[in-house]
């Protein structure tokens, strides 16, 4: 196999599967169940994961396509993560679309796969234009997915808002690329890194970074670029929220890591931008948590919670490059496991129409579905950051890295924030275990077998990341070493 093909093999597998699904879709009757296509998508994702493992086994760094794609342990880590998230999302979605509910459930699976192609492309690109293309591929499919429950007004609002603000943010990112090109004469990340030390326009280079931060900050819903998040999450289908709150963010965080920890990583530059990230981190944590405190709608609450988690994650970027890469990569994995899991449970309880809105609607769940309630409670505990869960180790490594770099104040603010945060998670958690208010209130649907596998997988992942984080952290650290050593 040529090295060029190997370096983008997962993307190729996913694209082919996606196209196959699109081709097969017309052969189904419009209102028929498209579950078979879903299973095809699952197979394709497994194939992509297998291809990534093949990449891992080569133990080498491949720089292909005129230096725009770089396959290394770092990209493999995020490929595996994205493939796992997509796999869980597909399993959860299989029975989400009841036959007859919508005639577009075939395209849904293809869109999820195309989105995944974009996200994966972002994590292995070392050429800003390629990053931009990946970002667009992933964004366009998530814009559509966000509005998938077409009958609902909130869904259209969600899609439109995401699209308008998203394109605005992408423009910022493109602006940043242009400025970086102006300052250094190249759009390759490695080229910019060497160009930065000799550039005659250091201010322009710094402005380029700031612009890119705005664009990427929007995509990860970091404050003050977060305003779209609650509305979009509220209107989008629950499985899609699970996907778009984790996978695209993981990809963007990976891009941000390549930019901050390897391109803009010299000590002089680090000191210039670190306060900027620090401010974004503190703002995101605080606004996210305070906003979540006021929410009655469970999905909106989790939307604000995802803003806060983006803030915790940003804290990692203030640390020294090697620490920051490993800590941030681990955090994205831990956050993905618990958040996909939480939204998986929510999607199964409500079903397509999502009648469960407020936190009070979840009362009495433990009596009706003790296992689902226990799973959701576990994900919430992990989101709080209780030890022996993936969420805890994520926070632990992030704040440990920040303290190691001397930013004790960031750790204090961050952990105080997580203290505030436990308030709203607990409100939902205690509701699960409370008695129902009167007779009315939400009726819960059970979980489909495929979704049960996905939820079990998420529980297992959250637990394993919390008890035996060594393997994942080891891979993250290897990825970090690759990045840092290449730059030296």
């Amino acid at each position: 196999m040529s090295s060029a093909l190997l370096s983008i093999l997962p993307e190729v597998v996913l694209t082919v599967t996606g196209v196959l699904i699109m081709l097969a879709d017309p052969f189904f009757a419009p209102k028929a169940s498209k579950k078979a296509l879903g299973w095809l998508a699952v197979l394709g994702t497994l194939g992509a994961a297998g291809a990534t493992l093949l990449q891992l086994r080569t133990h080498q760094i491949l720089l292909t396509f005129s230096g725009s794609i770089q396959m290394d342990t770092f990209s493999v880590f995020f490929h595996l993560l994205i493939a796992s998230i997509v796999l869980l999302t597909l399993l959860v979605s299989l029975d989400y679309f009841k036959p007859g509910a919508t005639s577009h459930s075939g395209e849904y699976f293809a869109l999820v796969l195309f989105g995944a192609v974009g996200m994966m492309l972002m994590t292995c690109s070392v050429e800003l234009l390629m990053v931009f293309i990946g970002l667009e591929i992933s964004s366009i499919s998530t814009y559509i997915l966000a509005g998938y429950r077409k009958g609902q007004a909130t869904a259209s609002e969600s899609s439109l808002k995401y699209f308008l603000l998203g394109s605005f943010a992408t423009a910022f990112f493109l602006y940043g690329i242009a400025l970086a090109f102006g300052a250094t004469g190249t759009t390759s990340l490695n080229g910019i890194a060497s160009g930065l030390s000799v550039t005659a326009f250091p201010t322009m280079a710094f402005l380029a970074l700031a612009m890119m931060l705005v664009g990427l900050g929007f995509k990860v819903s970091a404050a003050p670029f977060h305003v779209w998040t609650p509305d979009v999450y509220q209107g989008a289908p629950a499985p899609v929220v699970g996907l778009m709150s984790t996978a695209p963010k993981a990809a963007v965080f990976a891009v941000l890591l390549r930019i901050t920890a390897t391109t803009y990583s010299s000590e002089l530059l680090h000191a210039r931008w670190v306060w900027l990230i620090g401010i974004i981190a503190v703002l995101s944590m605080t606004i996210g948590n305070l906003g979540a405190l006021l929410q009655k709608d469970a999905k909106r609450m989790l939307a604000y919670s995802s803003i806060a988690h983006a803030g915790y994650l940003m804290v990692a970027y203030t640390a020294l490059p090697a620490d920051s890469i490993a800590a941030a990569a681990f955090y994205t994995a831990g956050y993905a496991a618990m958040n996909v899991g939480a939204f998986a449970v929510i999607s199964q309880l409500g079903g397509y129409d999502e009648p469960l809105r407020t936190i009070d609607d979840y009362r009495g769940l433990a009596q009706k579905h003790p296992v689902l309630a226990a799973a959701l409670a576990f994900f919430l505990l992990s989101l709080i950051g209780i030890p022996f869960t993936g969420g805890f180790f994520g926070k632990f490594y992030v704040f440990n890295a920040a303290i190691g770099a001397g930013h004790v104040w960031l750790a204090v603010l961050g952990l105080l924030n997580s203290g505030v945060a436990c308030f709203y998670y607990l409100r939902l958690l205690t509701a699960l275990y409370s008695r129902k208010l009167g007779e009315e209130g939400g009726e819960f649907e059970g979980s489909s077998p495929a979704a049960a596998i996905a939820i079990a997988g998420a529980v297992l992942a959250t637990l394993l990341l919390g008890v035996l984080p060594g393997k994942v952290l080891g891979l993250a650290q290897r990825g970090a070493t690759v990045q840092v050593s290449r730059n030296r």
Binding site: S418, G419, F423, T430, S434
Partner: protein, 526 residues
């Protein structure tokens, strides 16, 4: 792998295994109750291995298991007990089956959830006592909050249960978040989470040369622990949580975990800062004693009365341990055990009373003694133990803590604070005896008049008499317990940080006792 090295893992995780089993079994109430009883009894049996095979002459940790867990950052699975924690582990094991017995009738719905959470709580609690790795300890410490909060939120008595649970969780969680910063800072300075190593570094001033940061870190530790105790004025959560929580949960709610953590981690890692803050803590202890007693005096609700009585008793322990005398620390530790038993018995009796009359309001009770003779007998014995009657366990602890606070060199007017604290003993007797009089004697109250009630049944007798026997045995034979406790107390009081660098973990070295050359166990030998 010998029994001695795996016994602690067994004790810690056996309840979890039991909880998983209960969760998998069908939700049949009888099955769940008996299952929980068997698991807790077996756990108690395992804990008895510790005092039976403990090497009494030695200081330092025993029954250790120490294997690497996570490579980076360096986290080890390190368990062990010493004179401080051994009896606390046994106490936790002892209280659990009694808690199950007393919940037999009180928990009449969702038994499965209740006993599963109860057993998980047991794991977390014992884990706190035996973890010797700071990180592992923190894990158990945080986990101890979760089952308890759900227990309160689900099985609380009134509609305010969710609020009380939230309050409990927030009060404990937010300071714990800061504690984590402190821990990470200590790790950044020393590169280890291993407690024995940190204790050595703490004793030899080698954690950090930055005094201000060291102070802040020690405060982060102390505040997190003090809230959990609770130390006056951080007791805001206590009254509501006790008011709502079911009896079995109340029995393990306050005291042990926080006080143990102060003794182990604040004193161990920050010996110098702990001594410098001693005057404040002694004052808070003395004020807490008087405050708790005075507020208890005006309560009409029995559970709130017991809550403030708890605050008072825990303040005695704070006062004792921060005197940094052998007598004070030994007495404090002894009093932690006493409080677990006497306070636990008091809450069990109150719970039994509530099962019969459906109220904790003293104004609706009265004259119960005529109807329930066994109940009043045990209630009076328990009250006397709580008051600290000579000959019973409470006296030994109170005597030692007060004599410790009188001898302390860390506060300007030990006499003043000790006098304030002693008033608490008088008021304590006051509210307890008054409550007995109002509930059990006098004219027949409204509730006992309407509801017939029934005397203690065999199950309740089985749950309560072991405690009553322990009141007496621990009152007259305290040296049996003190042997182990003293090996810790002498070390903690003597480890003055300035003089003695190599106390830990060298077990053969003779410890110099600063002020009290007399053996501190004499207090109990009257």
């Amino acid at each position: 792998m010998t029994i001695d090295s795996s016994i602690l893992s067994l004790i810690v995780f056996f309840p979890t295994v039991g909880a998983i089993l209960l969760a998998l079994l069908p939700a049949n109430p009888t099955l769940q109750k008996w299952g929980a009883l068997v698991v807790t009894l077996l756990t108690f049996l395992f804990t008895l291995h510790l005092p039976a095979h403990y090497q009494y002459g030695l200081t330092g940790y025993q029954f250790e298991v120490n294997v690497p867990w996570i490579a980076s950052p360096a986290i080890r699975y390190h368990l062990g007990v010493d004179g401080l924690s051994m009896w606390l582990v046994v106490l936790s094991g002892f209280l659990a089956p009694l808690g199950v017995l007393i919940s037999w009738r009180a928990i009449d719905r969702r038994e499965k959830l209740f006993y599963t959470l109860f057993l998980l709580q047991q794991t977390a609690m014992i884990g706190v006592f035996v973890a010797l790795d700071l990180f592992l300890y923190y894990g158990f410490w945080e986990w101890s909050l979760v089952p308890m909060a759900i227990l309160i939120a689900t099985f609380g008595r009134t509609d305010k249960r969710a609020k009380a649970a939230l309050k409990y969780f927030l009060y404990a969680f937010i300071p714990s978040a800061i504690l984590l910063v402190g821990m990470l800072w200590v790790y950044a300075q020393t590169g280890t989470f291993d407690l024995p190593m940190l204790q050595q570094m703490g004793a030899s001033h080698s954690i950090s040369s930055n005094h201000a940061a060291l102070w802040l870190a020690s405060l982060a530790f102390l505040v997190a622990f003090a809230v959990k105790v609770p130390v006056f004025p951080l007791h805001g959560w206590l009254s509501d949580a006790i008011f709502e929580a079911p009896t079995a949960a109340v029995m393990v709610l306050a005291g042990k975990l926080g006080l143990y953590s102060i003794l182990r981690f604040s004193f161990g890692i920050f010996p110098e800062q702990s001594r410098q803050i001693a005057p404040l803590m002694i004052a808070l202890g003395a004020i807490g004693i008087a405050y708790g007693a005075l507020v208890a005096l005006v309560q009409t609700d029995l559970k709130r009365l017991a809550a403030y009585s708890t605050l008072g008793h825990l303040s005695f322990i704070t006062l004792g341990i921060f005197s940094f005398t052998v007598a004070g620390i030994d007495g404090g530790v002894y009093q932690i055990i006493n409080h677990g038993i006497s306070g636990g018995a008091l809450f069990m009796l109150l719970g039994a009373l509530y099962e019969r009359y459906g109220t904790y309001d003293m104004r609706e009770l009265g004259g119960v003694a005529q109807k329930l003779p066994w109940m009043v007998t045990l209630f009076v014995i328990t009250a006397l133990s709580n008051i600290g009657l000579p000959g019973l366990n409470g006296f030994v602890g109170e005597f030692l803590t007060l004599s410790g606070s009188l001898q302390t060199i860390y506060v300007a007017h030990p006499m003043l604070w000790t006098t304030i604290a002693t008033t608490g003993v008088i008021f304590g007797a006051g509210y307890m005896l008054w409550a007995i009089q109002r509930v059990f004697y006098g004219g027949m109250g409204r509730r006992p008049d309407e509801v017939s009630g029934w005397d203690l049944d065999a199950r309740e007798q089985v749950a309560l008499w072991p405690m009553a026997v322990l009141f007496v045995v621990m009152g007259v034979a305290s040296p049996y317990w003190m042997r182990a406790i003293d090996s810790f107390g002498a070390g903690a009081a003597g480890r003055t940080a300035v003089t003695d660098v190599h106390v830990y973990p060298n077990p053969t070295k003779n410890l110099a006792l600063p002020e009290t050359p007399v053996s501190s166990t004499e207090g109990g030998a009257h």
